[in-house]
Symmetry: C2
Subunit: 300 residues, 2 copies
């Protein structure tokens, strides 16, 4: 018997609610992420509708962070200190759990996207996977033999500090850290850096150099810390600027300094890749979380 | 029946060969690491002696790196591109395997030390562990639910680049990267930075500020990338400068910028700790590798 799953990709800007199986989204609803109450109510209403039609065996939530992902924690499934107004302390998981009586799982949006790319996308067969998204914010998910890395909280790769390019004085825009990865590379950071929309800046313009530099520093840090077989770089910034990943890859051999072998152009094209699932990685990941929640309940 | 294991901790400066069980070193021999042939021959001779006395069920090698740790690789157990003269390409594992016909395992010295601290030291019960050593070189091992992280190669945390302290112009001494972590924080780097031996520089001297800054940047990067429950900081530099870890911890809340909760003094004292096993972590880790090699052979 084929099971059917529901998923919520709770993003900082928009929320996507889906129905289907991992790899096959059958229905989809999208709306802006507003207040926790309004956003989660709307998502729950859609899931309840599907459940009433007998279509829902479990649900998964792929949430922006930081969110508590340790099931043993008292505040499991709760949003932590986020700059997004109104969301700090929002009980994301329990809000959904109280409305639906179904197996339920929650993880970060980037861990979920990594799961989807590992299952059916650009990271198949890779024991160590990083999924980096560069959009309204910057986040990173890490997968080890197919299991999301949680640790004390979960990775917050978007807030690592970088060695800056000589002569680049852009102070960054993160309200917590100024020039952390997110403060330097997110969409709003690029607008602040360029003084205009990135789409208006030509690919050959030298102002992109500092952006490629900073992204290359992030990727080198990830290579040296996690030794991944694959780094999937998704999100609006790199999706809309196809020149950025090649420019970044070409900087890696110099940063890695010959220390790692096999730092050829071909090897770097295998290591650093765009997502195969595009914007569907997050929603598909939420369906994988739902499938895992059902399996964990022993209901398979 | 109690099994007895042999271990080789192959360090950049000295080699330690031990006999015993994980947690109970019964015999120990130490000598300088010279050429691969001379060093490995001497280690093998000691292990053979113990084996002739019926004392050896398996052996483990905890090696400086970079070394190939993937068993499926054609060059499994071979030293890769190391600056240590004569060692690049040295067939560490096969040299020992040809002399001993015993279950054998190899991992990095820092992964082995992490295993030991996880098993019986300062990292017990921690799902995500980082073991950082700051001595002649700088290396980092990562353990996930008790299993060493390998990935494409293995972590090379010592070669990550850092955001530098404003006004600190020390260029670093790494022959590959200049001011990578090892180029800034290793023992030889401190000698170059201070122009004298670190032991001659008083704890209150402001020249330590840049060192604490750089170490805090490494630790913050590790917290944000791996979300570890424990970071064990070993090696001669921090062992001999007990003021350094407290000075480093006190910088972390500012770098993490309030983004992570629970960044209190007490929480940071639990997160960032000295090794409980001191210099025995590496040799004990080599005995754990031996025990795992025997278990993998189904001989338990």
């Amino acid at each position: 018997m084929t099971r059917t799953f529901g998923g919520i990709e709770l993003g900082g800007t928009k929320t996507v609610v889906v129905l289907g199986q991992p790899g096959a989204i059958r229905e989809r609803e999208e709306f802006p992420t507003t207040t926790p109450d309004e956003t989660l109510s709307r998502a729950v209403k859609t899931l309840l509708h599907w459940r009433e039609h007998g279509l829902l065996d479990a649900a998964g939530i792929a949430s922006f962070g930081p969110v508590r992902v340790a099931p043993e924690a008292a505040d499991f499934g709760t949003m932590l200190d986020t700059p997004k107004p109104g969301w700090a302390g929002a009980p994301v998981l329990s809000f959904v759990a109280e409305a639906l009586s179904l197996p339920l799982a929650i993880d970060t949006d980037v861990n979920a996207a990594a799961l989807a790319e590992y299952g059916a996308g650009a990271a198949q067969g890779c024991p160590v996977v990083v999924y980096l998204t560069i959009g309204t914010g910057v986040g990173g998910g890490v997968l080890l033999n197919g299991a999301p890395l949680h640790g004390m909280l979960h990775p917050e790769i978007g807030h690592v500090r970088l060695r800056r390019m000589a002569g680049d004085a852009f102070p960054g825009i993160c309200r917590f850290h100024g020039d952390c990865v997110e403060g330097l590379l997110s969409g709003p950071a690029l607008v602040a850096r360029f003084g205009r929309h990135p789409g208006e800046v030509e690919a050959g313009d030298r102002v992109w150099d500092a952006v490629a530099h900073d992204l290359a520093e992030v990727l080198a840090m990830l290579v040296l810390t996690l030794s991944p077989q694959r780094i999937v770089v998704g999100g609006g910034v790199t999706n809309r600027q196809p020149h950025l990943l090649p420019a970044t890859r070409s900087r890696l051999p110099h940063i890695l300094g010959g220390y790692l072998r096999d730092c050829t152009h071909a090897a770097l094209e295998r290591l650093v890749v765009p997502p195969a699932l595009g914007d569907d990685a997050g929603p598909m990941g939420s369906l994988i979380l739902a499938e895992q929640a059902l399996a964990a309940k022993g209901a398979n």
